[in-house]
Symmetry: C2
Subunit: 407 residues, 2 copies
């Protein structure tokens, strides 16, 4: 039996980033950068005022006081989006609005609340330091600065930064197209009536949602019955996608045909992995198309997708980080270790005075789909003897798309 690391390495070795393509920035949410994004301009692009007020030469105000105010001649106005055509001369003030370029010659902007204006003159009752209310060109970002590295997933904040430097379109990786196929005579699509002996296909809806959350495009192929000809036909449809995910048909039963197909049509590796839930996992190629055969039990399918399928998708997306972030948590309950299996326990994290505490989501049998509900992390119980006690610490994988920055 393979360890989780060995199995994952052998899967990941066979996936590579897909080709890059252009996307307008406003359609790039959730896409992964194919190349470093560098600033082409400064931000802000020009020195400007942080306030509504009056642009002036600070030297003119050096002697200003309540007793001896300085009066500057109001010679013009500059609003955001326009440029003051002249240079500010000694003794002059220019009305300036927030974000407007500071006129040449001026080196400060006094907010309007601190001045009086009448008959074309601005009265100043205190010295204004050079740079007051001035935002300098390039203060935020300088040209050539690295805005975001290749491999970064674009969220709203990254999009705002790239937008502010005018970077659009962006080079991103193509989204992988992932074919999803459940296997089993017993499967019926949700919404259809159930006959005796039949159950609903929950793996396909799960995988469609999980593949989309991972950043790929799911292609639903329904369920194939346990007949070689029917499965062969479905797999023929699936060829040419970037990945085929199947569920069921990889155990040792007489009707476990997925591994038989892989053996028949291409390269096949069939593993048992030291993992619970999970264990049987088929991986291989149908022609050029990689196929990951997940177990049929819904919880096993979900956990093995997390550990093997999602990283393969993230690798194809060119993501800098293909795995979920791992964090230290404190156990609320007791966990029994097993010598021959690494266990991934579905837990709900709660925040207790700064500690993240892991509570199991209930009974953890691999067919108990209710154990997935409310899970925010997978608690890792390493192979070994004895128990991990309440209050002890362990690592957990955050089942969480939006914490890529947690270290």
């Amino acid at each position: 039996m393979l360890s989780v690391e060995e199995a994952r390495e052998r899967v990941l070795a066979r996936f590579h980033p897909l080709e890059a393509e252009q996307a307008p920035l406003t359609e790039a949410l959730g896409r992964v950068l194919a190349e470093d994004a560098l600033a082409r301009e400064s931000s802000p692009p020009f020195t400007n005022s942080a306030m509504d007020g009056y642009a002036l030469r600070s030297a003119d105000t050096r002697a200003a006081s309540e007793q001896a105010p300085v009066r500057l001649r109001l010679v013009g106005e500059v609003a955001a989006g326009s440029v003051y055509a002249d240079e500010a001369q000694p003794g002059e003030a220019i009305r300036i609005l927030t974000g407007a370029p500071l006129p040449a010659g001026a080196d400060a902007a006094l907010q309007q609340e601190l001045t009086e204006v009448a008959d074309g003159w601005v009265t100043i009752r205190q010295p204004v330091a050079p740079g007051t209310n001035v935002r300098h060109a390039g203060e935020d970002v300088r040209p050539g600065a690295l805005l975001a590295r290749a491999g970064v997933e674009l969220g709203p904040a990254e999009i705002a930064l790239l937008a502010s430097l005018g970077v659009s379109p962006v080079r991103v990786r193509r989204r992988p197209r992932v074919a999803i196929l459940a296997t089993g005579d017993e499967l019926v699509a949700p919404g259809e009536p159930l006959k005796p002996g039949q159950i609903y296909n929950s793996n396909s809806p799960y995988l469609i949602a999980a593949v989309a959350r991972a950043g790929a495009t799911p292609v639903a192929l329904g369920a194939a019955p346990d007949r070689a000809d029917a499965l062969r036909e479905k797999l023929a449809q699936a060829q040419g996608h970037d990945l085929i995910l199947t569920s069921g048909g990889v155990s040792v039963g007489d009707y476990d045909l997925v591994k038989q197909m892989l053996g028949e049509q291409g390269e096949m590796e069939f593993w048992r992995v030291r993992i619970r839930p999970g264990k049987p996992l088929a991986f291989g190629f149908l022609g050029e198309t990689p196929l990951l055969g997940l177990p049929g039990n819904p919880v096993s399918a979900a956990v093995t997708f997390e550990l093997f399928g999602r990283p393969a998708i993230r690798r194809m997306l060119g993501a800098a980080r293909v795995e979920r972030p791992s964090i230290t948590v404190t156990l609320a309950g007791e966990e029994q270790r097993r010598a021959d299996r690494r266990q991934f326990v579905r837990v709900r994290l709660a925040s207790d005075d700064g500690q993240l505490v892991a509570h199991t989501t209930g009974a953890q049998d691999s067919h108990l789909i209710s154990s997935l509900q409310g899970a925010t992390a997978l608690l890792i119980v390493p192979e070994g003897e004895g128990v991990i006690r309440p209050g002890e610490k362990a690592q957990a994988l955050l089942l969480n798309d939006a914490l890529p920055w947690l270290e």
Copy 2:
């Protein structure tokens, strides 16, 4: 000036869940349930075998041992998806595959590895306890059980659970349509050339992404120049949406026209809120359409969208929780409190031996859009005197879509 709570209450009081609609389960990812989802069936729907092996009557095996094995007559087979037509009689065994219904009369299934089969007889060398390898009907979920409450956002796990009980389509809330309009003569769309005095419009791309992440449908209306007629025309296009989000034009400047439009065309409330970044916030109605006027500074726009816009969208979605989860974190650096402002500091959370530690993302000026990068939380620095020191604890809002269950 209003407190953050007062301003939020006054905004939220004006939003209500939108109407419900049907969605196929496989298209319901990220949608919010409009009504409780109840189990219509049991899960599993029938008692079945957890293993490939032989269904039998456990009483037949009571005396079995290595020395005196029991031989059962192999009378048939039942695979997943089919039903054994007869009742298992004393002395009989039926070949059974994982997931197949346990035949009437049988009360256990012995895995095939523990038996020998030859010439139509199954040899049993140990007693088999009643219930061995049997999954009982309703063991996971019973009919009428609450699967997910109204207000739950459907993720892959919830979709799997509903699918396993055949629940499709589902009743979900309509996604709000949110019109997004930036204002300012100085704004240019990313990708276009920049003339002197102009800057890129980053608020629209940010809000388009953030609105989509909040679960609504963004409708981009570009940027309006600082002229009343042009703004009036854009706002006319925006009417009829579920919400209009503007950025800019709500301060005290001569060209801050959004508040003027609200005053002219409908009900208007114009606030200063005790918040940093942020402060000016306009809220009102253009006819029947609510309008939230965010500040123009990119960081102020982002933070006020988080605190006021996103909760309004979540309320329209009928989400049980409209606000981000708040957790206790430990400060890595020092934060200066301010008597008159609640501060929301952009921080990156790191996990340090089970503690979540908050590191600021750098300089926090409201025009420094780089401070949004890598932020996974908003650290709340309450109004008050003095400083919060490194190692002290504070609350933070997780900027994170996928931890709705963190308590």
